[in-house]
């Protein structure tokens, strides 16, 4: 019965972590991959990989979120490497949004806004893009981002502030132009 208890506990733990992190992983990938089907496929692949390696994860070495988003980050990098695609976004291939609790008008408005954001995002440096994705998609704190990108926490704060302002300016320009 111990094995059953242990298995139930592992399932419960994994189910809880899934509830918390799955939407964040999805949003993180969505910031990078503008196709909904592909975002879903990569999100699935991230969790499948996490599941296979779940027994090897040690909370002493890293926080679960840092570990999980390292998998997500590598998965997206691998996708671009294998498919030979460039990390750019065009309006033609931008995300199909499907969200609940939104009227069709709001949905359309949100879709257009997200498309513009994705286009503006690729104008930032690679590092700035990653910081934006890890902050607003994955919702990591500066310490976790610093650990993933090999930067100091203060440095992440500086770069985040700069990246948001650059993105804001670029977004405003696209709005006016």
């Amino acid at each position: 019965m111990d094995a059953v208890k242990e298995a139930t506990s592992t399932r419960e733990t994994f189910a809880e972590l899934y509830e918390i992190y799955m939407p964040k992983v999805f949003r993180y990938i969505q910031y990078k991959i503008s196709n909904k089907q592909l975002t879903e496929d990569l999100t699935s692949a991230v969790f499948e990989k996490a599941l296979v390696n779940f027994s090897k994860y040690s909370s002493d070495k890293a926080k679960f979120s840092t570990w999980l988003f390292s998998i997500a980050r590598n998965m997206v990098i691998d996708y671009y490497r294998v498919s030979g695609r460039r990390e750019t976004t065009s309006l033609e291939e931008a995300t199909e949004i499907s969200s609940r609790d939104l009227s069709p008008e709001e949905e359309l408005e949100k879709k257009v806004e997200l498309e513009r954001l994705q286009v503006c995002l690729v104008e930032l440096s690679k590092e700035e893009q990653e910081i934006i994705r890890l902050k607003f998609g994955a919702e990591l704190n500066n310490r976790q981002i610093a650990k993933m990108l090999g930067l100091s926490e203060t440095n992440v704060g500086t770069k985040l502030y700069r990246a948001v302002r650059k993105l804001r300016d670029s977004f405003q320009e696209s709005e006016n132009g």
Binding site: M22, R27, F47, R100, K110, L117, T154, L160, V164, R168
Partner: protein
């Protein structure tokens, strides 16, 4: 610490609060650049769209099934390793005794093979013909006459569910018509962890003819209860079809075909 660094730190803290769903307002003492950056960060936080509930549920279900499979495989492996460890402990450590043990084991193995091939050779299942004229007929088919596929072959089911349904498709793969004399055949549901038969489903009394290449489907409905009517424990269960009684068209003899485990399900 400079003004810039303070501003950056406050900006990061404000974004973390925004993402946590708190209301954040830039103070009046902050400059326009900072205030518009906060406003834009709010837009960024609100712009991202989450996964659809359908995708979220489907992926969750799939992952939990995968996890159940992984755990079952790990348990199986652990059982195997315990068996070999136990066996290893039986062998003494000193070389002389190791040699003696090996010799005894080899002799016992040879003896067992000789014995089983002479004394304990299996006798075929004999079934008396219905009309009694043709003499005894061997009951086990030389090759399978009937194919059996369970749909699904593996699944995860919550203990909270009322029933689980598994389709058993019996296909006539012989070159002539067959009759399953007691349809549906008897079914055993076995708990894999300890091999206990938790539920017996008796064979039906109907004879069903299956033409060549045709199939007949029986939907097994299990209420996830054992023979005493109690809900079963969580774990892996196998659906076993142990004996299907058949007869060929125009031949009175009964033929028995054994399928064994045809499906496995994890009761969660």
């Amino acid at each position: 610490m400079g003004k810039g660094t303070n501003e950056e730190r406050e900006f990061s803290e404000s974004i973390d609060r925004l993402l946590a769903g708190e209301e954040v307002k830039a103070g009046e003492d902050m400059n326009e650049d900072y205030r518009t950056a906060i406003k834009f960060a709010r837009k960024l936080a609100e712009s991202s769209v989450g996964p659809s509930p359908q995708f979220k549920d489907q992926l969750r279900q799939r992952l939990l099934q995968q996890l159940a499979k992984q755990e079952a495989a790990a348990r199986q492996k652990e059982k195997g390793s315990r068996f070999w460890d136990g066996l290893r402990n039986l062998v003494p450590r000193r070389p002389v005794w190791q040699y003696a043990t090996t010799m005894v084991a080899v002799l016992m193995l040879v003896f067992a093979i000789v014995l089983s091939s002479t004394v304990f050779a299996p006798s075929p299942v004999v079934v008396e013909p219905v009309n009694g004229d043709e003499g005894p007929i061997i009951g086990m088919p030389e090759q399978d006459l009937l194919g059996l596929e369970a749909i699904p072959q593996e699944m995860v089911i919550s203990l909270a569910e009322e029933v689980v349904e598994i389709e058993l498709v019996f296909q006539n793969i012989s070159s002539e018509s067959l009759t399953v004399t007691s349809f549906p055949p008897s079914i055993e549901i076995i708990r894999i962890d300890d091999g206990e038969v938790v539920r017996n489903l008796e064979a039906g009394g109907v004879g069903v003819e299956i033409l060549q290449s045709e199939s007949v489907t029986y939907t097994l409905v299990w209420d996830l209860r054992d023979n005493s009517g109690e809900k079963v424990l969580p774990g892996w269960y196998s659906i076993n079809v142990n004996d299907v009684t058949l007869s060929k068209a125009g031949e009175p003899a009964e033929i028995h075909q054994v399928f064994g485990a045809v499906a496995q399900l994890f009761v969660d």
